[in-house]
């Protein structure tokens, strides 16, 4: 069995690699512009080194038996994102983004440490499930308020507090995962009781579909009022997936997918912004000068990048225009680092997913289990949504690329999620439930 110290040493060496990526990449970007060492490189080196050390020492002290890969993967993806964001500063209107992103990373890691410090046992959070429910729904619906809400790029998913704009749905989804985990671990047996059968499928009492309907209603509200397809879809998917994981009743999946299809159908009929996304997805080149411009440019970026990419600073991802540093950051990566870079990044996300779901199967209690699975699902599904969107595999729904995209709320919520996963994995580690490292962790762990 691996000791806590060994795991922490692995983590430390992986963090060094991540630091090399952040600072080396920043240097390479500067070299592509002029053959000089960039002025800020010492400052960035100190900040990133300090942040990584703080995060690592916090884990060493507060969760010594935790998983050794999750934090380095999150920070490595963030480092790649930072390098791309510093590269995207070249059109001058983006000046200052890299510095802002670095400030947000400091805040996010502070929150990461705070979560580890204050939450000694995630099960304690189950008690506050209705608080989280309330907070989650409020955060999700906050941009609707007339004074706070701001519409950016046609979606009303931001709020403005003084000089800061903030995307509250990012934090809202963490709160809602906490609520679902608490609610479902308490009710799962009740929800799983079937009273009738339709063919081979058992159907629970009708009143148990209430929560599904409630979640559906909230997500429709988000879509209609805020035009935020991404959050709406993500939120509903998280709920249905967690409901099914908790109960194992296929009827919830069937009902969920069915309701999604009905909702999507009605939405395309009633709301032009939804119909427009579908039309662009179907044939982006038909809308090349307006609504399809960004998707087409994103496809061009990937194609121009090809297998090896143009090299950092040598492509033209700025042609994607606005939100290239947020929703379309993966397109910038695809253009300049090629399929090779994209494959590396996708592998990192898949690895994080494997660690997260593997961790969930080894938990001793339902709440931790559902929380770990729910948080992992959130990060993984969001990644698939945005990568599928920018490659036009599915209609584009504006969500951020976890850890990589520019944006404080996104970084904050993703590192809180990592903190919760690390807290859970430390508990599992202390219970001695960790499988040998040679086996694929996902396949290990006993059934229940």
């Amino acid at each position: 069995m691996i000791t806590g110290t060994a795991k922490r040493n692995t983590e430390a060496s992986l963090l060094v690699i991540s630091l090399v990526i952040a600072i080396g990449g920043y240097w390479l970007v500067a070299l592509a512009r002029s053959a000089t060492v960039p002025a800020g490189i010492g400052v960035y080196g100190a900040i990133y080194g300090g942040v990584y050390a703080a995060a690592h020492l916090a884990v060493r002290k507060l969760a010594p038996r935790a998983d050794s890969l999750m934090l380095p993967i999150g920070l490595m993806l963030n480092a790649i994102g930072f390098v791309l964001i510093s590269r995207l500063e070249i059109p001058t209107e983006n000046e200052g983004l890299a510095a802002a992103q670095t400030r947000w990373l400091v805040v996010a890691i502070a929150a990461f440490i705070a979560v580890l410090y204050f939450v000694k046992d995630v099960r304690a959070l189950a008690r506050y499930r209705y608080t989280f429910a309330f907070a989650g729904v409020v955060l999700l619906l906050l941009p609707m308020l007339p004074l706070l809400g701001r519409e950016i790029n046609g979606a009303r998913l931001w709020i403005r507090l003084g000089p800061l704009s903030f995307q509250p749905s990012e934090l809202g989804k963490i709160a809602l995962v906490l609520f679902f985990a608490g609610y479902l671990s308490e009710r799962r047996e009740l929800l799983a009781v079937t009273t009738r059968k339709i063919g081979p499928i058992g159907v629970p009492a009708l009143r148990h579909f209430g929560p599904v309907l409630g979640a559906w209603g909230v997500s429709l509200l988000v879509m209609v009022n805020q035009k935020d397809l991404g959050s709406s879809l993500l939120f509903f998917a998280i709920f249905v997936a967690m409901l099914w994981m908790a109960t194992g009743r296929p009827i919830y999946l069937i009902a969920g997918v069915g309701m999604f299809l009905v909702g999507a159908f009605i939405a395309t009929r009633l709301f032009s912004h939804v119909a427009a996304r579908i039309a662009v997805w179907h044939d982006p080149f038909a809308y090349i000068d307006d609504r399809g411009y960004q998707v087409v440019q994103s496809l061009f970026a990937f194609a121009t990048g090809g297998a090896w990419g143009t090299g950092l600073g040598l492509g033209r991802p700025d042609l994607i225009r606005f939100s290239v540093h947020t929703d379309f950051i993966f397109s910038a990566l695809g253009e300049e680092l090629g399929l090779v870079g994209g494959a590396a990044v996708l592998t990192a996300y898949a690895l994080l997913g494997a660690r997260g779901f593997g961790l969930a199967t080894r938990c001793r209690d339902d709440f931790s289990r559902l929380l770990a699975a729910g948080l992992t699902f959130t990060i993984g599904f969001q990644t698939i949504l945005i990568v599928g969107g920018v490659t036009n595999l599915i209609p584009l729904t504006g969500v951020t690329m976890p850890f990589m995209s520019y944006g404080g709320s996104s970084l904050l919520s993703n590192f809180i999620a990592i903190a919760l996963l690390i807290r859970i994995s430390d508990e599992v580690g202390r219970q001695g439930g960790e499988a040998p490292p040679t086996e694929m962790n996902m396949a290990a762990g006993g059934g229940r």
Binding site: M245, A303, A307, A360, R369, R448
Partner: protein, 487 residues
């Protein structure tokens, strides 16, 4: 519960796999097509940072040059000092609308990628010195091009002149023209406005390259091919038909009349001199079905000429249609569905001038590298062995007679023998518009220039014939070339 969690986990892995396969398809399978997509400006933007080569006329005038614009996002601005005069040759270089004409077909050389790489180039590249493009030198003298353009004046039409031996183009005018500077400007809005305006001008269609991409009924200039078809197949120039003012081929009630209702006949030479419709209609109708088609194809009809910018094939009626004597009769005088580009008709003149051999037409005479050294020189090539030297010689004599005594008198020059043939093709539903043509070459005994002039939209009546509208333009271009080349 763990069963479901694992199922979700594996489903997610599968979805990551699907996303990855789609990404691979995008970056490998579709990459070539999308990277070169018309609307993908990435490669163009990269090109703007290179020192793109210039385009010059043979007498050293700059026709296209890239001016550095270090303050702009685009590092250079393509400018065309001669504006519309060479627009249909150089084309344009637009961020939004791509490249056209020579800017397109010689893009590799102009950017320095497609041409010959010398050791010095390699050294420069290793040292990180900027890649420089090659310069194109045309075979056209600016004064000849200017003469052709001025002679055409405000009329819609085209002039194509070339050296009948080397195939080097000596004038290439399509009017109305456009200013390529407008399409090559940096302002996206300015580009778009110019593009929209040029495309909306349906009356003038200034972006259409009439010289090598417009096809028009060649009218009586096609009689040269009809005569060649007969001669090539052993039907002698002494073949005579009685004078008549109309001819009705078998199996039809279509009657073919002569211009102005006149009466003509006799042998081939006298028929060509007065452009006798009834003679050539009967000649073609009585020839076996394949002759006309075979000879027209031997001159290049139905095939795209190998010009170094975009061109189209000239058309003949279907082989099945040509089995009918009536359609052959109409085709023989360049009507029905015969349609030729001015380039093709210039090549017909060149073929006769060059003892039956049609040369490969070439706009670019040589390519020079950034230091002025010649890296490539074009050489004479034969495109088609159209007719025998004997046939060419007989037709040349007839065409000399046309310029001296017949319909093409206006093309003749003092002190030099010109060979020519005119044509006037009715177009439009009611035939109230016509296309005026003249093809010619000179000097007849040692041809230095072969030319086709096409004037679109000439009116009806005897004032707007090829002989009156197009032949004087021929003469002016011949004169301009004569004073430059000194023949």
């Amino acid at each position: 519960m763990n069963r479901q969690i694992r199922a979700v986990g594996y489903t997610m892995l599968v979805l990551f796999g699907v996303v990855f396969m789609n990404l691979s398809w995008l970056q490998l399978g579709r990459a070539e097509q999308l990277a070169n997509h018309r609307a993908n400006t990435r490669l163009l933007l990269k090109e703007y940072a290179l020192e793109r080569g210039a385009i010059r006329s043979v007498n050293g005038d700059t026709l296209a040059v890239s001016v550095p614009t270090p303050d702009s996002q685009l590092k250079s601005l393509r400018t065309y000092p001669t504006e519309g005069l060479f627009a249909h040759i150089t084309g344009y270089y637009s961020l939004r609308y791509g490249r056209e004409r020579l800017e397109r077909s010689y893009n590799g050389e102009l950017t320095g990628k497609g041409g010959v790489v010398t050791m010095q180039d390699l050294g420069d590249r290793l040292l990180g010195k900027g890649q420089k493009g090659d310069t194109l030198v045309l075979s056209i003298d600016t004064s000849v091009q200017q003469a052709a353009s001025s002679a055409l004046g405000g009329r819609k039409g085209a002039v194509v002149a070339l050296d009948p031996v080397s195939g080097q183009i000596l004038a290439f005018v399509s009017q109305p023209s456009f200013d390529p500077n407008q399409l090559s400007q940096h302002s996206p809005q300015g580009q778009q406005d110019a593009w929209v305006a040029l495309n909306q001008d349906e009356e003038n269609t200034p972006l259409v390259n009439r010289a090598s991409r417009g096809t028009y009924p060649p009218g009586s200039t096609f009689k040269v091919i009809t005569a060649a078809a007969a001669l090539e197949h052993g039907i002698g120039a002494d073949t005579s038909f009685p004078a008549t003012n109309e001819y009705q081929p078998a199996q039809t009630d279509r009657v073919i009349r002569n211009f102005g209702g006149s009466t003509c006949g006799g042998d081939m030479a006298s028929a060509l001199t007065v452009s006798c419709n009834t003679y050539f209609a009967r000649l073609a109708a009585e020839m076996p079905a394949g002759y006309l088609e075979e000879t027209a194809k031997a001159f290049g009809f139905t095939e795209t000429p190998p010009l170094d910018i975009s061109s189209v094939a000239s058309r003949l009626p279907d082989s099945d249609d040509l089995k009918s004597p009536a359609f052959r009769a109409l085709s023989s005088i360049g009507q029905y569905s015969v349609a030729a580009t001015p380039l093709q008709m210039a090549l017909v003149a060149a073929g006769i001038a060059n003892s039956g051999r049609v040369p490969v037409p070439k706009l670019v005479k040589q390519i020079e590298d950034a230091r002025g050294a010649v890296v490539k020189q074009t050489s004479a090539e034969t495109w088609k062995e159209a007719v025998s030297p004997e046939t060419a010689s007989i037709i040349k004599q007839m065409m000399i007679n046309v310029a001296a005594n017949g319909t093409a008198k206006a093309a003749s020059l003092p002190g030099v023998q010109v060979a020519a043939k005119t044509g006037t093709a009715q177009t439009g539903e009611t035939g109230d518009e016509s296309i005026a043509w003249t093809i010619a070459f000179a000097p007849a005994d040692n041809p230095r220039i072969a030319i086709a002039v096409m004037v679109e939209g000439a009116g009806p009546g005897s004032d707007e014939t090829g002989g009156r509208v197009a032949a004087p333009i021929v003469r002016q271009v011949l004169q301009a070339h004569r004073s430059v080349a000194g023949w």
